[in-house]
Structures are given as C-alpha cells and as structure tokens.
C-alpha cells in the first residue's frame, strides 16, 4: 500500500479468516479523489476505529461498505462474499448508523424502530421483542410512544443507533455517532458499543475525536485526504509514532530548561514539555539539574503518547475539526 504503514495485528488472531476485507478502494467525485487505495481487514469481534478530520474519506468508505455508494475500483469482501458493488446478499448482517440523525421526526420512537426493523427483515413477535430490548438498552423504553421530534439530541442519537441493532448485525458501522451530544448521552453510547463488542459484534467506528478512539478501539486506521496513513493496534501506533515527551514544572522555571537529548521544548500551562528520544535519561538529567540549581520541582513526569501526536507524525498536520 502506498503511503500506509501497517502494523501487524496480534498473531493469536491471524489464523482466523477476516470478517471484512477491503482492498485498494478508490472513489472520485469529479476531480476530487475521495478515496485513494484504501486497504484494511478486520477480524470478527474487533472494534476498529477510523480517525481523521472531516473530508478524510471515512464516510465515503463506510458508504461503500454498506452499498450506498459504488466504488470506482477495488473490492470489498464480507463473510467471504464479494460485496463491492452488490451488498444485497449481506445487508442483513450489517447495521449502519449514519452521521446524520436519520429518523422520521413525526413518528414515535417505536414506529421508527418498527420501520427499520422491517427494513432489515425482522418481523412479527421477534420484531416487537427486539424493539423492546433495544429501547431498554438505550434507556428510552418509557419514551417509546413519543414523537422523535420531542427528543433531545442525545436521545435522537441513541434511537439512531438502536435502529441499526434490531436485526442483530454481525458488523456495526457507526459514522461519527456522538457529534453534538451531551457527555451523559455520549457515555451511554460508549457503554452500548462496549457491550455490543463484548457480545461479539464487530464494530467500525469513525470519529474525529481522538479520545473516543482511545476509549473504544483496538485497531485504529488514521485517515487523511482519502488515504489510510497508518493502521494497527492502538498501543503499537502509540509506541511507534507517539512522541516521547517529558513534562517538567518547577517554581521559577521561566525559560525552557536546556538539556542534552531534548529536540524541542514548548510551554504547556505552568510547565514545559520536552520532546526527546530518551525520556528516561532526560528525566534523570532534570532531577540532577533540579538538585544542583535548587529548583523547587512541582511536577516531573513522562507524557503518555497520544493519538494527536501520532496523527501529527503520520500526516504532518494536526487533527482538524
């Protein structure tokens, strides 16, 4: 893959056939290349995160996986079947939660779920039971008969997700499901996703919030300008690309401390963040310097590598909102 660094997924699962394989997907809208050679695969039960700014190609990738958009080239295989330009055979196994709240606002929560359940082929008493279950899971059973237009944004997002769960999909694709909602609703959604993943549902989760990927995902693909720039388990990406930094805060430390092995320093709050390839050595040096210079050190710690720094390393830019 051009321009993509792939870190191998854990060996223990490499024997199992992938649930989803995506290879060399390309899609252009006029002159704009929305997707450029996107390739990845997923094992069953993975929680896969797509991290990237708006316009990176995350939604387009998801729309191709769900059959809403046709790829210009490349292939997609789900459960061993080529679904590149025909998802009909497997649409019953995919649950899709779009970025927009796609509900009938004038209908009740129950009516919306009934419609989407039937749209996925769920019928009769099974449908009634599933509606009850997902409403309970989303904490909205008591609002079942209320029109969706009376719901808060967070509640609407929960029903938006619930509508994709009625048919017990093997693969759940969520496109930025927490945009514009309150923290309580967001946590509720996170709990739901963790629960589903623990029950064996494979999750593809796209977001431009790094903390969401860090909280939920095992495997992360960093996407920018239509291409996957880095792909692998979260810990491995942080290890390989995360910046190694030391934070030091001391009374009277008004200038960045000079220290061998520090490549860059920046002010952060009341202290300084020092970039280095040898954080332990730098910490030792800081302690020695503090003793000799009689600094009153308030804080000295290793800064945990973040996806933000990974994104910056891989793409050369900060993650744009």
């Amino acid at each position: 893959m051009n321009g993509t660094t792939v870190i191998k997924q854990p060996a223990a699962t490499s024997a199992a056939a992938p649930l989803l394989e995506v290879s060399a997907l390309r899609k252009a809208y006029g002159k704009k290349q929305a997707l450029d050679n996107v390739t990845f695969s997923l094992r069953e039960g993975t929680c896969f995160g797509f991290l990237g700014p708006n316009g990176a190609g995350k939604s387009t990738t998801m729309k191709i996986l769900t059959g809403i958009v046709k790829a210009d080239s490349g292939f997609v295989k789900l459960l061993g079947r080529d679904i590149t330009n025909d998802t009909d055979a497997v649409s019953r196994h995919i649950g899709y939660v779009p970025q927009e709240i796609t509900l009938y606002e004038k209908l009740s929560a129950y009516d919306n779920l009934e419609f989407f359940g039937q749209a996925y082929g769920v019928r009769g008493s099974e449908l009634k039971q599933r509606i009850r279950e997902v409403l309970t899971r989303t904490g909205l059973l008591d609002r079942a008969k209320d029109e969706v237009q009376t719901f808060s944004g967070g509640m609407k997002r929960r029903i938006n997700i619930a509508a994709a769960l009625l048919h017990r999909p093997k693969l759940l694709i969520l496109d930025e499901p927490t945009v514009g909602i309150d923290p309580q609703s967001r946590n509720h959604i996170f709990e739901m996703i963790r629960e589903l993943n623990q029950q064996g549902v494979t999750i593809i989760y796209s977001t431009h919030y790094m903390e969401e990927v860090e909280a939920l995902c095992d495997i992360v693909a960093i996407m920018d300008q239509g291409a996957v720039k880095a792909l692998g388990p979260l810990g491995d990406l942080l290890e390989q690309y995360g910046r190694k930094e030391v934070y030091v805060e001391a009374a009277g430390l008004t200038e960045a401390p000079v220290c061998a092995g520090v490549s860059a320093a920046r002010k952060a709050g009341a202290g300084w963040v020092l970039e280095t390839e040898r954080p332990e050595a730098v910490m030792q040096t800081m302690l020695s310097t503090a003793a000799t210079q009689k600094w009153h050190v308030k804080q000295l710690e290793l800064v945990r590598p973040s996806l933000e720094s990974v994104f910056l390393s891989v793409t050369g830019t900060a993650l744009r909102d």
């Binding site: 729309k63 009909d88 927009e100």
Partner: protein, 380 residues
Amino acid sequence: MKAIISKELKLIRKDKRSFFFLLLMPILFIVMFGSVFGGGGDTADITLHVIDQDRTPASQDFLKQLGGVMDVKAEAADALNDQLEKIKQGQYSVVLVVASGFETAIKQGQAADVKLYQDPASQTAVAPIKAILAGISGQYREQKLAGALEAKGESKEAAAALLASPLRIEDVPTSSDHFDYIDQVVPGMTVMFVFFIIITMTRRFFDEKKTGLLSRIRSTTIKPLTYLLGMWLPFILTVIAQCVILFAFGRLVYGLQLGDVAALGLIVLALSIAGTGIGLGLSFIVPGESASMVVTQLISMGGAMVGGLWVPSYLLPKIVQSIGHFTPQYWAQHSLQNVVAHGAHIGDVLPGVGVLLVFGLIGLIVALVRLPAFLRSAAN
C-alpha cells in the same frame, strides 16, 4: 414494501398541510362554486327587473305571463335611471320597460313598445330572457291573427287549426332525469385537487433525500424498486380516500347522484393512478420543492381550465377543447360526468379509464428511468 407503505400512511395522516390542500380547499371550492352557479339553467331562477310605465290591465297581463316562467321583480315607474345605473355597475344584466301606451297600442292593433335594456357583455344571461320574450311575442301575434280570422268569419276552432304549427317538437330526455350544475362542480373540483397530491409526493421524496433517510434505507434489505412502489401506493390510497370523501360530501350536502358506483370507483382508481403517477415522475425531475409547487399549480390550474373542470368543455373555444384532450383532467371529468349525469356504466368509461392509466404509466416510466440518478445524488 409493507414497512414503507405503513410508514408513509402514518406520515400522511400526520401531515396537516396535505389535509388542507386535499380536503379543505376542494370542499371550500365546491361550496363556493355550488353557491354561485347552483341551479343554473332553470328559468324559474332567472330574475327580471321590470318597470311598468303603462300600468294597465294589458301591461299587467303581459307581466303575469312573464312571471309564469321567470321571477319578475317590479320596480318603480320613475326608477329607470337607477336601474340603468345598476346595469352599469354590473348588479344585473337586463331591465324590461313596458312603455306608456302599451294597452292602447294593443287595442288599436299597433306595435306596443317594450324596451329591453341590457348589458352587452352579458349576452349569456340575456339570451334566455330574449328567447322567452320572443315566445310571448309570438303568442300575442297568434292572438292577433286569430282575432283577424274570426273577424273574417272563421270559427274559433278553424282559426286555431289554421294557426297551428306544422312542426311538432317532442322533448325526449337522453340523460338522467336530474342534472344541475353540481354535476359539474363536484367532479370538477375533485379532479382539480387530486393533482395537488404532487406537492405532498415531491416534498416526501425530497425530505427523504435531504435528511439522509434515503441513503440509510439503501443500506437495508429494501431494494430500489420496492422503495419506489412502496412510496407510491400510499398516495394512490390517499387520493382514493380524497375522492370518496369529496363525492360523499357532494352526495350528502347537494344530493349529487352517483350513478353506477362501480364505474365511478373504476374512474377514481384510474384517476388516482394518473395523478400520483405524474407526481412520482415529477418527484424525480424537478430540482426542488419550490419548483414542484410551481409545476403543480400549472398542472392543476392549467389542466382545470382546458380540461373543462370549471366550465363545461363545450362552452370553451374549439382550440382549447382540442388542447384539453391531452390532459388527464379532461378524461377524468368527462368519464365522471358520464356516470353521474348520463347514467354511464363500466363499459362506457373504459376508454377514459385507459387514457388515465396511460398517464400514470408514463409517470412511472419517468420515475424508473430517473431513479438511479436520484439515488446517486442522495448518496452524495
């Protein structure tokens, strides 16, 4: 498909705007037109304002004969200028003045002066009055001739036989025994407002596209053709319900005769397919909701004008009548009136039903051709 039909029916029930366009407005129009034009054609409803300047038994007798066939309103003898002013203002279209010396002229066998002051722009209203006056004038001539023959020695019976017309005109009704303007208004307004369903249909499709619902539905097991037909059928049912309610209103309030209900039902079904089929096709052609409002007004109002919904087709200019034949409104109105006013049955209305179904089919074909592009634009 059942899921889509059920969902759409629920949404249509909650749509107050549609209720206004599909039911309230046509009922309002029926009441309005029915009040203005109701009972037209019956001479007992014609009102004639008269000024008797002679005020003699002869003039009174003349006015009594007129009163036998129309509603005669006597005005003051010196009110001529007032009455002429009312004609100018358009309050009525004609005033009859029996001039002084009417009786004297009759007795002397001379022409008696009767002036008919009329609005030249209202010849349609004046024509029946002139015809009645011509008839009464003919009776006076016959009386004069009979008098002259008796004076010459002919008996009364011989004079009557001599004056009898060589023609005998017998009235043979070819339609049902009841016809009035409500037979024009109820079918006409029903047909006109059927096409307002286009507004609701285009709005629904645009909403589904704009909100991302259509894309989401595409990710389910629902196929595009199933989606299209599932969205269409509820509107057919809605229009059928609309027609049933409006005809029921006409029956209950105005005593509209329904004729062969099975034939009526067949026309209503075909009209529903035509109106909603056109709506379906337009939903995939027009660029937006505003454009659909404009197009709907053109189709509804324009079609109503040339299709003979507001006034009977035969009263329209020949060129307009010809154009009307290319509108679904003409075929619907013509078929409905055949049933309601002329006692037609299923076999008689099949050609009209066939034409309406063709309009519906054309709309469906347009929708099928445009559907892939519509789905692509929704996805993007």
